[in-house]
């Protein structure tokens, strides 16, 4: 067997785990002057490390070919993660993690990456299995990121007012659902949705007007650049001044933010139709609107969706930022900006998590519609190679 055929990730995992057994697990307690914990005292961790060494070396030779092997690796990684967490909290390593601990985390990292890799490259004609695999990959990756966050924050003893660990954020999230729901309603349902629809809708219409009237295209587009570059920080106070403290001013900020990406993309898209296709429509003496609806808009769809996707994230950010500049005392931005001042950083992160969830779902919905509406685009064609 040649060197290149070895599974490098598993090799790294095995070596890192082996070193983890050798290096000290934790640092020295400042008060007692003693080392906080030893691997030898923690049977669970010792087993996990040993498992990593054994499985790592085994799979280095065998290779991780099948999904089953990937699952085995992930299972070992999950066990390892569990042990790592328990060491931190039950054996008081939090804040005192040493090189041994971090090497163990590195070993787990290699395992997780390899396991996700296998599942990501899984192909099946069975749709449910494929969907499941496509779902598991980002989730596993995300869970891993959360784990790393948790471990790094408590391992290094990062002050909670700088960055709380995910476990704490999660707890806060679950315990504050009523506040979160009210904020969500104020910011997302009222401000974001209306601002998004108005911003994208008006930009779309203006794009068509601009396209129709070359005079406007030459006159408005260069100025459009400038409007988009108006920093929200500057615009938000003005909008609050004009449209009041409630959601209307937030929607106005969103309209301004989303307008330009949509305008630029739509105008570009409207010119994306091929020359031959335009000639074809010309031979039918197809009128402006007919060509627009039958050729140019369909051809522009990939661009339009591009803007819709970018805007779906911009809109939420815009609303939250605008709430920093005056709001009634509800809303995600309001909560974030006040709770920072109150040092309730876990609440801040709970809101951020909510924003991320809502924004990702919003984006996902737009992406789903895109997939349905522009399935003809080469980028969605089933890739055979």
């Amino acid at each position: 067997m040649t060197w290149t055929k070895l599974d490098k990730f598993c090799l790294v995992a095995a070596i890192a785990a082996l070193l983890a057994l050798i290096f000290p697990l934790a640092g020295v307690d400042g008060d007692t002057g003693k080392q906080v914990a030893f691997v030898g005292d923690i049977p669970g961790l010792a087993v996990a490390m040993a498992l990593c060494v054994i499985a790592g070396s085994a799979f280095t030779w065998l290779g991780v070919g099948s999904v089953t092997a990937g699952m085995v690796i992930l299972a070992i990684a999950v066990f390892g993660c569990w042990q790592a967490i328990s060491v931190l909290y039950d054996y008081g390593v939090a804040g005192y993690a040493g090189p041994g601990f971090w090497l163990f985390i590195a070993s787990l990292w290699a395992f997780v990456w390899r396991g996700i890799d296998v599942i990501a490259n899984f192909h099946s004609l069975d749709r449910t299995k494929q969907h499941l695999a496509n779902f598991v990959v980002p989730v596993a990756f995300g869970v891993w990121l959360l784990f790393v966050w948790e471990v790094v924050v408590s391992g290094f003893g990062v002050p909670q007012v700088l960055l709380p660990p995910p476990s704490m954020i999660g707890e806060r999230f679950v315990n504050s659902t009523d506040i979160l729901a009210a904020d969500f309603h104020q910011t997302f349902v009222k401000a974001v949705l209306s601002g998004y629809v108005m911003g994208c809708g008006s930009a779309f219409i203006v794009a068509i007007a601009v396209d129709r009237v070359p005079f406007l295209k030459r006159g408005l587009l260069p100025l459009g650049n400038m409007v988009s570059a108006l920093p929200i920080i500057g615009v938000a106070p003005i909008m609050v001044m004009w449209f009041g403290f409630d959601w209307q001013s937030k929607a106005a900020v969103i309209v301004i933010m989303t307008f330009f990406p949509m305008l630029v993309n739509t105008v570009t898209g409207l010119n994306a139709a091929g020359k031959l296709e335009k000639d074809l429509m010309a031979t039918y003496a197809s009128g402006y609107w007919s060509t627009l609806f039958r050729l140019r808009l369909p051809a522009a769809m990939p661009f339009v969706f591009n803007a819709l996707k970018i805007n779906s994230t911009l809109a939420l950010i815009g609303a939250i930022v605008a709430e920093f500049f005056g709001t009634p005392i509800v809303g995600m931005g309001f909560r974030i900006s006040t709770e920072v001042g109150r040092m309730n950083i876990d609440m801040v992160w709970a809101e951020i998590a909510l924003a991320a969830l809502a924004g990702t779902a919003f984006y996902g919905a737009v992406a789903y519609i895109e997939r349905k509406a522009t399935s003809w685009h080469p980028s969605f064609r089933v890739r055979r190679h």
């Binding site: 709001t327 920072v340 109150r342 040092m343």
Partner: protein, 304 residues
Amino acid sequence: ADEVTLQLKWVTQAQFAGYYVALDKGFYEEADLDVTINPGGPDVAPPQVIAGGGADVIIDWMPSALASREKGVPLVNIAQPFAKSGMMLTCLKETGIESPDDFPGRTLGVWFFGNEYPFLSWMSKLGIPTDGGENGVTVLKQGFNVDPLIQKQADCVSTMTYNEYWQVIDAGIPADDLKVFKYEDQGVATLEDGLYVLEDNLSDPAFVDKMSRFVAASMKGWNWAKENPEDAAMIVLDNDMTGAQTEKHQVRMMTEIAKLLGDSAVLDEAAYQRTVDSLLSGGSDPVITKEPEGAWTHAVTDKM
């Protein structure tokens, strides 16, 4: 020289004139200190900065500092240059507000970001709910300026005697048309700009020594500023990197600030206790839940 980084609570203005004067006039240098002053802003939470190691000493209001202490940032007050509170609620007379009894049903602008505690304890003392109901008040999170009052989006807004109040005056509304409620007068005053450090550091005598030199030099700066308000304002202007402040405003601010300064930097225990009691009395939602311990020390001022 020993390095000291000071994190201000707000942007460069005469509110912090003493420190800038001390820097500019070389008082810090005389005390063998190399001081860096970092301005704050609407986004800067000084407790967070000091917890992250971005500063050695911060300026904060006591309610916010005590609340942070409960949240795990072990802040300790080492000196209290400001003896009085400059906070007030400014209302338009035409709205018919004469006394706190007229508040229910009104819209009030309040600063948040840790500055809402005095207001909240005042309201709970008055027994007025802040949830926007029929017999409560509707609270707005006020931005940085007094526009909500001028544009009549709010009936009252929060102002400082030394800053926002004059912005209202500058906007063309004469003092006669305004009704102000000073927190001092309402008996709900809490301690404002104080100097805070992390508790752990105080066990190091060298640090305490450094801080006592720092506080002493700063107080020297404050005394100089009190006596020379115009020059102090100019020093502040020189240090304002944004170039946005005006001389007129800063001189006026300096004069008002002078009225809030105490005779020394030593924390008055009675004032401290008054602040704590006010914060604890918040009804169902007090700012702090238990009597803080070790939240102040005279160790630094004693060494001066």
